[in-house]
Amino acid sequence: MLYSMKMMREMEHRIEKLYRQGKIVGGVFFGRGQEAISTGSAILTEAEDAVCPCHRDLAAFLIRGMEPWVIFAHYLGRRDGPTRGRDGNTHMGSLKHRIISYISSMAAIVPVANGVAFSFQYRKQPNVVLCYFGDGATSRGEWHEAMNYGAVFKLPIVYLCNNNKYAYSTPTQRQMAVAHITDRASGYGMPCRRVDGNDVLAVYEATQEAILQARSGGGPTLIECETFRMSGHSAHDGAEYVPKELFEEWAGKCPIARFEKVLRERGLLTAEEIARMYERIAEEIEQAVQRAEESPFPDAGELLDGVFADSQAKNPQAAASPAKGN
């Protein structure tokens, strides 16, 4: 888990650097300070489970096996990314990794994630879906419809909300009149848990319980992970609207530093071992960036491929699809 969190943090630093160099274009979002949420939950998934990560959940992609160089290739708009340059930032999906891509419309993924969970239920497979979203997304009608739907059908899904206190520049109290995201759960007859989202073990423990319940037919749980967005909304945003003291306060709660401390105190890793792990991460990232930059840009001749199935032959993603006849 320390590896995943640190890998996510450092990859995002590297992505930011590539963005400032003008090599990555478009919108770029970071989950800085929120690494414990995707890490402490996705780590619990089994091979046939599925995840629906959002834009601050990079560790979920890594844990599901998407390689760092492929992710960099995606950000760089290259051919070897999972969308072959058709989409950018964290809009990555890969059926073979059971990563179901979210889309920009906040909360639109939640009904779709329900459908993935439904497919497990329909086929009597003992699998679960982890579905991620932010606090702002919970204001949308699609979110409310999907919560209700998931609860009515007792779908095998866990809803994970990162409450990072802001949706773009809008603070949570402008987003909802209830104090906590979990206050919404009773409206759907759904169990909920509120945890310290900067404590990877707390996220792990709550998700474990929710997965157990979902797998055994007990239906969904809404987990609220209290955290803070340690960056602007996206790389272009200086977050001047966030009081400095809040950044200072939350800097002291860094999930990575906290977990390092736990591991050292329990004698599970020494400071040297951690340092060596971080060196390895730095090396892996440099190699990944290099490999990604060697990946070609897509050919303009591919522009129309894959709008429909009959023109998708050339897209290797088609082979990874579990859908019959695709």
């Binding site: 989409d87 009904p111 999907a146 209700n148 739907y149 894959g306 998708q312 859908a323 019959k324």
Partner: protein, 324 residues
């Protein structure tokens, strides 16, 4: 062969596909015990059970999204919209999720979204719409508009087997009004093949849905005046059988583009563009569009009557084209 109404033909097509493929299932409001607002799914719950005939909460985003997720995982959902008008409430799921998933990340979404569209039954502004155009305009979606019982069955089967999201707009006026002998067993009408509903040489009426019958009614009258109208039933708007359209235009050199949907931004404009580009030389007269005027579908009988295109409109247009 068996005599079937348009509605029965749809039901039979779905029924046979569900027997053929255990991955096909139905989602929608009141489709189980009640059999759907128009009874398209009557008897299905008893036969296929609750696992496959699923009554959902009143939440179009939730059940359309669920269908999308299930389709991505390889199931073959059919979603019933109680009225096609309400498709607007789940526009985002269809246009931003379903339509773009294959292009973005190779995830096929083999699903059918079907429901009753169209006016003529005093349904008023929220139960009479022809909502096809926003979806015609969205790359990644197919749009099917059956006009006969034979096509209703053959096209729903093709739609269910199709690897991409298909919108299948039934015309509620036709549900019980038309009855035909259709093959009892399995047959498919491939998506993207238009049908010549009546052969003629003087003027082409290119249309779809319930307006096919308006065109045929007009053609009867015109024939008595010596004007032979050819009626092209498009069957599908996407994929479009452009060749069939152009062939008819080249043959008759006079064209009426007819639909029940409103004029501005309607499919006739798309057809006009293609004909002007590809068959301009063949035209002996200007193109004529006949469509509903640009207002919501009104409730009261005289208003709705004035709103909907009718045979008289087509007859007058054909006469003026002939005289041009």
């Amino acid at each position: 062969m068996a005599e079937r109404t348009y509605l029965e033909a749809i039901r039979e097509g779905i029924w046979e596909e569900m027997e053929r493929d255990g991955d096909v299932f139905l989602l929608g409001e009141d489709i189980g015990a009640y059999g759907g607002a128009f009874k398209v799914t009557a008897g299905m719950l008893e036969h296929f059970g609750e696992r496959r005939i699923i009554d959902t909460p009143l939440a179009e985003n939730a059940f359309l999204g669920a269908a999308i997720g299930a389709a991505i995982m390889g199931l073959r959902p059919i979603v019933e919209l109680q009225f096609a008008d309400f498709i607007t409430t789940a526009y985002d799921q269809i246009v931003n999720y379903a339509a773009k998933a294959r292009y973005r990340w190779g995830a096929g979404v083999p699903m059918v979204i079907r429901g009753p569209s169209g006016g003529g039954v005093h349904g008023g502004p929220f139960h009479s719409n022809n909502p096809e155009m926003p979806f015609v305009h969205t790359p990644g979606l197919k749009v099917v508009v059956p006009a006969s019982a034979y096509d209703a069955k053959g096209l729903i089967k093709a739609a269910i087997r199709d690897p991409d999201p298909v919108l299948y707009f039934e015309h509620k006026l036709l549900y019980r009004r038309i009855k035909e002998e259709i093959p009892a067993g399995d047959y498919v009408v491939p998506l993207g093949q238009a049908r010549i509903a009546r052969v003629g040489r003087d003027v082409s009426v290119i249309t779809y849905g319930a307006m096919v019958f308006v065109a045929l009614e007009a053609a009867e009258v015109l024939a008595k005046e010596g004007i032979e109208a050819e009626v092209i039933d498009l069957r599908c708007l996407v994929p479009l059988d452009e060749e069939a359209v152009l062939a008819s235009v080249r043959k008759t050199s006079r064209v009426i583009l007819l639909h029940e949907d409103t004029m501005q931004g309607g499919f006739a404009g798309e057809l006009a563009g293609r004909i002007a580009e590809k068959a301009f030389e063949s035209l002996d007269a200007p193109l004529m569009r006949i469509a509903s005027p640009d207002c919501p579908v009104p409730f009261s009988a005289p208003l709705e009557e004035a709103f909907l295109p009718n045979a008289k409109d087509v007859i007058e247009a054909a006469r003026s084209l002939k005289a041009y």
